[in-house]
Symmetry: C2
């Protein structure tokens, strides 16, 4: 008696699809595994595309992590590139495939089907959008076109200041282009809270990038062959080349036509094992809707890391259903580097928490990425958000010149473990002068959060305009004179003189203490509070008024 | 009515003591805080001392984080340097102080007392130990002496290959000395498992350091004014300068004389709030015994990070006892860099687990510290240990050329959160090509651990000598010929040919698969296992036989 081999069909051959195929083969030598890919490439490094355009990754072949041939040789897969899945017959458990080059169609039967169609870059229906000089970036072919177009271009406009937009800006500056960046919001990196994007904003300006924040693309015009971007503000921006990086749309036509359920924002619905409402059809990657780890609500996280792990998890559930564990919720951890600055987040931002009406508290702390006395210490800024009802961490954002990824990863792990701000303050992180500080900035964020919760310090995020409030600049007079606080009526009393000079302040009037980084002002606020003042400390300090590239000499142990 | 101010006396003015004093002042403006320090300096950066000797930190003043004057000015402390606490009168709640310069003594009363005496470097009573050319390193004065002696020395012997020993070796090589390193164990970095120290060993050899592992110092001899180290093996080692870095002894004479309880290894006993058996006396830093986070058993962790947090926690418990939280147990997270290599650990090592008779399992994984296709990817090796009874992580060790601190910190946080190997595999860490991989090595360690637990792969740590076992080298023939597996009777069948060549192997005989990094051999072992073989995969691969500085081109997605 021969048994029919188990038939696994996977639609989409990049991150999620290729991971599902590879893991499936390691769990079954006998399964017939077919990998369907519309494009010519499988399992390519899509996160690396900007770096080949800019020349940081010189070898194009490095991005083609696998080819159909290597997948066949190593994993015994039936790889069909240039092939589109055009319909799913769920009743008969088969997919209709079209060989794009010749148009031939056929049905392929499955026992289990995996949909990993990904997402396509948005191309809003704007006037002039079809100009060939307007690019998006998803495939190796897009990359080749962009790289070739960039060679002849001098002025480049990038539309959208998200992660990919910033990566492209960086690479075009490397190529010595004149670069303009247009963003609808009045900040870079829309997922982050604005104060956490200012260091990156400074960095782009320093590198000569022309920023159009709080403005939107309205259309494209051609005059005498020259392309220009028309902005909502009325401004016009000449460009030889435009890159649209304004988000992605999940590719769900196939799923929708097959009657699979979509979520409120059009992503394919999944359970904790990544099954659709048809239990023989799984889905993974940029097209799907997952569960938010913090709230349990629907979330979409179109990122490479989750896609890879999802693909693998699907194979586990297909071949080892009894042992498979449900996937945890998503945090949306993400990071980007542009020039010397990195910025990223994990979990919820303040703007999301506020919009959702969830209770939260937040602190922002400044420090150096390793011991200040050891050469090469670079500034880093960390914002922490937590739930005041149970002290658990809800999210964090970090930006700086080094060590940003480490702090995000530690806090992502802390959220996964359900840790509180007290736990964060006590984390035992690796310390030697080249790597960290005896009290790492993660500990410091925990300390500051606990101080805030306990009422030992009352943070304020901007200086109040109320003339009744005494603004006390507690920096040394030399610094206070060189970089004055941009606010009227500021009194300069350095921390070291505060106890002796406390009589100069009016204990009946509220006070706000100010310093460069938010640490000395906290120390000063403690003194004033213990002297009976109603006092707040400017959280995160005046960072914007000092050059963040000067490692801060921190004044106290 | 005037109330007597609260009197806090702190013995020891460096990490733990200075942190206690600073936090105490922020919680109370009215307390009378006295900081007693035997040496001339307070709050100096003791972890930075080696780097000033080697010239990496050029400015000595950078190490004097605070002076008695700055502490007085900022924190209104009564700082008494050059003053030794010689006795505690617990009944009367007072300490006897001796001003060392003049010998004058006085009693000082306390409401609460903090002991932060630290630990002193061991100087074993060996023949010739009193030679002035034999140094230890604890204070700024030790540093000055060593730096000055180094200027005139050509041959330097460092005794002890722990964290400080390796830092000193690195700095002496920077100074272009001829450096010899003697270590009792047959490995560097005694807290780590030996395989995790080999990369560092290679690095030291590459830098010309002469290693004497598995040998011990027996004494010192002088002939014609020349100093030599006599080793247990009989070897003799000429040296112009010797640094002893063979461990520290807690300074507990004062505590012991006062009847405070000591633990089995002579450290001062504490409760979870760092109180001694006298509830008015707290203690922190290198002299104390804490609780191990994993086992709850007594532990000593003489490191800067815990000392700083402990000092702070004591002030919290003194001034805010109702709100103070008990300290979590200790993990002993530690890291060291020497030249291009970093190595460190968190939690329990395999040797400790084995010695304690605790159940554990372990895997070792190789990867690059960020996406392999992005320039600058550096190899990193990660060993994970977990408890098979509940899948919780017990410890980890990492070594590599970049990103070691990040992985240790993520796993330290995971242990603090009680995470399992399944949780580790699903951590959502920040990913962009310059920072990590879509499946970070931490995820990979989780995947591999789960595979091991689930019986999907059976790891083996060394190649068996049993001729009945088929050793299958699954690397490409070119690599297999260039760097042959150092073992008789090895069969080379590259992964890509394994399915077609499986008939060349005997399914009745056990097999072990081998590759460079342990990944391809795992893939091969999956194939053979699914073909009915009893097969194991060499965990971590043949790393020692390939140059770890060549970023590994990993063969599969």
């Amino acid at each position: 008696m021969t048994t029919q081999p188990f038939r696994l069909v996977i639609i989409g051959g990049v991150a999620a699809g290729a991971s599902a195929a590879a893991r499936a083969r390691r769990l079954s030598e006998s399964a017939r595994i077919t990998l369907i890919e519309r494009g010519p490439d499988v399992s390519f490094a899509n996160c690396g595309l900007p770096y080949h355009i800019g020349g940081e990754i010189t070898d194009r072949a490095a991005l083609a992590v696998q080819t159909p041939q290597t997948l066949q040789a190593m994993l015994n897969l039936d790889v069909r590139t240039g092939t589109e899945a055009v319909a799913i017959d769920r009743a008969a458990k088969r997919v209709r495939l079209r060989k794009l080059a010749i148009g031939a169609e056929e049905w392929l039967s499955y026992d289990k089907l995996v949909l990993a169609p990904g997402a396509s870059p948005l191309r809003p229906p704007l006037p002039g959008i079809d100009d060939v000089r307007i690019h998006t970036l998803r495939s190796l072919q897009d990359m080749d076109r962009l790289k070739s177009a960039a060679a002849a271009a001098q002025r480049v406009a990038v539309i959208g200041a998200g992660f990919i937009g910033l990566e492209m800006v960086e690479q075009f500056v490397h190529l010595q282009k004149e670069v303009a960046l247009v963003e609808l919001l009045d900040q870079l990196l829309p997922p982050l809270d604005k104060p956490m994007t200012l260091l990156m904003e400074d960095e782009l300006k320093r590198r000569g990038v022309q920023l159009f924040l709080g403005d939107a693309i309205a259309g494209f015009a051609t005059a005498g062959g020259a392309l220009s971007c028309r902005l909502k503000s009325g401004r016009s921006l000449g460009a030889d080349l435009v890159v649209l990086a304004v988000g992605v749309r999940p590719e769900t036509a196939l799923a929708k036509d097959a009657g699979l359920e979509l979520g409120p924002r059009g992503h394919i619905r999944t359970d904790a094992f990544l099954r659709t409402n048809d239990l023989d059809i799984y889905t993974a990657g940029d097209a799907i809707q997952v569960r938010d780890l913090v709230t349990g609500e629907p979330a979409a996280v179109p990122l490479g890391g989750p896609a890879n792990r999802q693909g693998r998890a699907i194979a586990d559930h297909i071949f080892r259903p009894a042992e498979a564990k449900p996937l945890p919720g998503a945090l949306g951890t993400a990071i980007v580097r542009a020039f010397d600055v990195a910025a990223g987040l994990t979990g919820w931002s303040e703007k999301r928490l506020r919009a959702a009406g969830r209770p939260y508290r937040t602190v922002t702390v400044n420090d150096n990425h390793h011991a200040s006395y050891y050469p090469g210490a670079k500034p880093i800024l960390l914002k922490l958000l937590w739930d005041p009802t149970d002290d658990r961490i809800l999210g964090a954002q970090a930006t700086g010149l080094a060590g940003v990824d480490k702090r995000l990863d530690v806090i992502a792990t802390a959220i996964a473990g359900g840790l509180t701000i007290d736990n964060l303050s006590q984390l035992e992180l690796s310390y030697a002068p080249p790597f960290g500080s005896a009290k790492d900035i993660v500990n410091l964020a925990g300390f500051t959060a606990c101080n805030t919760r306990d009422g030992l310090v009352s943070p304020i995020e901007t200086l109040p305009d109320d003339p009744a409030v005494q603004i006390v600049d507690v920096r040394p007079p030399s610094l206070a004179q060189k970089h004055p606080v941009p606010h009227p009526g500021v009194i300069n009393i350095p921390l070291t003189a505060l106890r002796q000079s406390v009589a100069e302040l009016d204990p009946q009037r509220p006070a706000v203490t100010v310093c460069a980084l938010g640490k000395t002002s906290y120390f000063a606020a403690c003194i004033l509070a213990l002297h009976g003042f109603s006092v707040q400390s400017l959280t995160g300090g005046l960072r914007a008024t000092v050059d963040p590239r000067t490692p801060a000499k921190l004044p106290t142990p």
